[in-house]
Symmetry: C2
């Protein structure tokens, strides 16, 4: 295997990226090379920076989750606060802060980071172990509950925070050193000569693989590989859960489809891809890609959401995709971005980026409200009863809200969203042997180097996703022939590409190749006019319905846009009805609540529930002849 | 209020009935007056007697659940076996045995009953308290966990067993005396001057009301009323559950629809009806009837199954009726029989008996296999993957099986089915002021007295539900004018009634009135030819589908009847296709798995999964023009 050379030069400005494989079809254009300049995602990244990160920090002080580290540091046996995995939220927030500091150099945020990092590291034992939940006075023994204790899961998130830190400011950092001590402890405890066990919640796997990439220390990669291989052999005691919940039912390389807890499945898959890529294990890579593909075809919502069941927050069977009971956890969508991005880099297949786009626009963008201070944990495609507003001053139950909540008892989604948005520029583009590939369309400045080291600077201007025109101005370019390639989303028919060069069509992509000089402009036009989408006929929950989409956005009908007193359960769409654009991102569609249909506003799904308590549905029944044939019967 | 006179004469041969209200529109014809003579239910009752009861006894010895009583009796601190509610299974079995002994006078079963009763009562404390889970050495304090401990739930089932015993052999019985001591203890602890609390699982409510009926002791009725009224005031600490789970969200008299845990909802409703009837509380009765009606219209499966969610075994929202994830717990259907029967007796409205029939034929009959020794706990209307056979020698998880299991970790359904089948004759008929009412159609001998004390003897002959002809021969009758009335199921059009008298049509019923003498025969003909049923258009899960029914039986397509290799996910029914009768209870329906349809066998839903691991569906998509209009898009 080939790893990043060690020691890695610091600061790692050319590697400010969420995932940095040492090999693969594509090489990520680092987040540090891409500046999102407003637009759909740039605006959200700013709100994340200005509001969400501090919101999370405040709540974790209020709930005492940060103070847990002080208790552990002081050997204080006072009751700890929060759930067993609360430490991980602090780590995910540290990761978000690290990316954000790397992005903007914000010195006030750096001070907050340093302070939080100090409090965390003060709780670390001399042997590297770090947990506020186990091993302290009056607490259960270390590693006495790997099924439910989340110790290695938390360790994994700490390591990921350190990886972000290393990639933004370098290895000479206290949090990085602390995380390396944690990793060394994990290797000592769970290595080939140690406990042959896994954690009930994967996360340590991708974390260790990424730490190996950052440090060049192969021990971490070997440990990640060991953990990946140990899954599926029944090493955990399932108790009331099924082994699939812990991803312990089938060895990763034998799986055919993702099952069990959706977030766990995604995190393990991410780790398995990292291991496969770094060790050249094509069988393992193919196994994950096979599971991914089947899951996208049969177990993924139109929104890109994953996880059909509240029960154990899990995938359902094939075609089990209820709208009302969709769990579609925000964190599972984030996990799918992690997996899609890794598969894209490893294989070069643009279709993997389709899922990233779908999940980002329709789940990740749905979770936070416009202010960035309240969140959805679950993301159903239908809401049949208006819900009670979430509590403003107390953590909410995770899956009960029909309104976004400021904080949850299990509060993984806010911090997960924060770290994703802070590093989002890292998912925009990659380079291949001949040029640059644009995977996500957003206004941005890109200042990077191509595979041969030649500098490339581009300015991307677009009103995407409402506007399908993506204009790329070349500011600096090699003098040789090079290429700029764009993903063609699966929904996009009749894409056009204009510019000084030869247009080439590839699998789910379109490219311009030539000696495109600085000063030239390349224009991609994607057809984002609204469209009607019909469901796969095997899905019970949406048979006889249609959805409306425009570009990557899934639309919904919210009760506040329906006639007063109308029941969304009675809504239907005339056959042949066509959606039209209204103001901004709003669409209008003829919808009937009785005999005759009238134009009704639809809004992007990601904006629902921002106007108060409401009902909502994405899939709308097609009007049909409701007459029951003679001799047949209606059941009520 | 009027209660049954005390002391009640022993043996209570004229009151061998599951529910004996002191007032109401109808008076039950006791189980002791009705002998099921073979047929659909008589055969099942025999299998229950010969196989199921002993099966349950054997398993509860094997699992150590019965031995828990020995531990408690001996003050032995050795670990107890089974879940916190295991005692209740022994009590439900005692109830089943009591009904069965009352039915047949089986002396061997009486010995087993006595032995089991002795072991149970040996564990009773001098103050009447009886539990193997609380209050013993090393055990939690009595009533320290009313949310989850099921102490009063267990006490309720013990009392119900004693009520069955009192109604079959009289009050002079050890189990009856023991249960009265339990009830006195409950009244002392939870009475007006005691703890103002409820149990997390209702059951004590109907039990105490029934004990009041048996003993004439009004204290038990007052205590039942107190418990009913205490629900819905947030007296329990919900923890991870929602208050609705415990039926503690809304006071019973304020409810509009059943919600939360389906079994809990049914048991509480049964208790509330008992209290309402005995105290003349019409407001309470109306409140329960309102919730029941809404639940039947919007939250009940075609099978009569209740409870849409695996999550907390609960009702869903209106129209949330997924086929694949239907929980439809066997015990919830039994609970619905308890509620329907009580409402029928109280109001005289035959429509309440429709739900009893639907739930009996399609859920209660589905739970046990043909041998009566393995059971379904959940009863989904679609199974998309063949399941792993249940363990033969160990308890199975309750809701994971696609095959019937001999025993469960939570094993409420086998014993609940056993007590229901043993007392089933008690749900067949009632008397009103003018004669007899037949609610359920089964071959039987009925030997009872009418309201005025005049004897009536009938022989019912029928091949129902496959044959719609119900022939009633009058063996003994009053010489005056009397009436025999039959329920007309909601699915039955063009019912005919022939016999010597005047035919009268009522609400969901048809009656013959006259001085019908002994020797005459009355013939009811119900149209049980197979029919196509269309779903309520508001239900997402079955839109665009049809089901096939014949009489009270819901039919299903099981993969063993489909072409080899065919995927039921691809099945569709041509518009206008008509089901035809095949051999016995089998139907044939044209079903397509590709372009063309061919006749395919459907079997009664209650017989599915008897031929090995399979997939199955009740609702079948109608064939439709699958062509997506130009410009519209298919999502895969």
């Amino acid at each position: 295997m080939t790893l990043v050379p060690t020691p890695i030069p610091s600061p790692l400005v050319d590697r400010v990226a969420p995932v940095v494989p040492s090999t693969g079809a594509l090489r990520p254009v680092p987040a540090g090379d891409v500046t999102l300049t407003g637009g759909f995602w740039g605006d959200r990244q700013e709100i994340n920076a200005r509001a969400t990160i501090l919101h999370c920090l405040t709540w974790m002080e209020r709930t005492g989750w940060i103070a847990n580290f002080d208790l552990t540091a002081n050997g204080d046996a006072a009751p700890r606060h929060g759930r067993e995995f609360a430490d991980s939220e602090i780590y995910k927030l540290l990761e978000a802060m690290a990316w954000e500091i790397g992005r903007t150099g914000d010195t006030e945020l750096e001070e907050l980071f340093q302070d939080l990092s100090r409090r965390v590291l003060a709780a670390q034992s001399p042997d590297g172990y770090l947990s506020t939940q186990f091993g302290g006075p009056g607490q259960p023994e270390r590693y006495s509950d790997l099924e439910w204790g989340h110790e290695l899961y938390c360790a994994g998130h700490l390591i990921q925070a350190a990886v972000a830190r290393a990639r933004t400011v370098g290895l000479d950092d206290d949090l990085v050193r602390g995380a390396i001590r944690v990793a060394d402890h994990v290797v000592a405890e769970f290595g080939p000569a140690g406990r042959e066990l896994i954690d009930g919640h994967p996360e340590i796997e991708p974390a260790l693989a990424e730490l190996a990439r950052v440090t060049g220390d192969e021990r971490y990669l070997r440990q990640a590989a060991l953990f990946v291989e140990r899954h599926g052999h029944g090493l955990l005691r399932p108790g009331e859960a099924e082994p699939a919940y812990f991803q312990d039912e089938v060895p990763v390389r034998d799986g055919t489809v993702f099952a069990g807890h959706a977030v766990r499945a995604m995190y393990l898959a991410a780790g398995a891809i990292d291991v496969a890529v770094e060790t050249g294990d094509d069988e393992l890579l193919t196994a994950v890609e096979r599971q991914w593909q089947h899951t996208l075809e049969r177990r993924t919502y139109l929104t890109g959401g994953m996880g059909s069941r509240h029960d154990w927050e899990s995938f359902g069977e094939d075609d089990e995709l209820p709208s009302d009971r969709a769990y579609s956890e925000t964190c599972a969508a984030i996990g799918s971005v992690m997996v899609g991005w890794r598969l894209l880099l490893a294989t070069g297949a643009e279709r993997h980026a389709d899922q990233i786009e779908r999940a980002l626009f329709n789940v990740v963008a749905t979770a936070p409200d416009a202010a960035g201070t309240s969140f959805f944990y679950v993301n159903p495609l239908r809401r049949t009863v208006p819900g009670v507003p979430a509590l403003a001053d107390e953590p909410s139950p995770r899956a009960s809200s029909s309104q976004r909540a400021p904080w949850f008892e299990v509060s993984c989604c806010p911090t997960n969203t924060a770290r994703t948005l802070a590093s989002l520029a890292g998912y925009v583009a990659s380079t291949d042997e001949t040029g640059i590939r644009i995977h996500q369309f957003a206004p941005a400045e890109i200042d990077t180097v191509l595979a041969d080291g030649s500098p490339l600077r581009l300015r991307v201007a677009t009103g995407y996703p409402v506007d399908g025109r993506v204009e790329v101005t070349v500011l600096v370019a090699p003098e040789r022939t090079w290429s700029i390639s764009f993903r063609v989303p699966s929904w996009a028919q009749n894409v056009t590409l204009e510019g000084p060069g030869e247009v080439e069509l590839g699998d789910c992509r379109i490219a311009l190749r030539g000696a495109i000089p600085a000063g030239e402009t390349v224009v991609l036009t994607l057809p984002v006019e609204p469209r009607i989408t019909h469901p796969d006929r095997r899905i019970d929950a949406v048979r006889g319905c249609v959805a409306v989409e425009a570009g990557p956005l899934v639309y919904c009908l919210e009760s506040v846009d329906a006639p007063v007193g109308a029941d969304l359960a009675e809504a239907s769409v005339p056959v042949g009805a066509a959606p039209l654009r209204g103001d901004g991102d709003v669409l209008a569609l003829p919808v009937a609540f009785g005999a005759s249909a009238s134009p009704t506003n639809l809004i992007p799904y990601h904006r629902w529930a921002e106007r108060g308590s409401s009902t909502m549905r994405v899939w709308l029944p097609l009007q049909s002849d409701q007459t029951i044939p003679e001799g047949e019967e209606a059941h009520s």
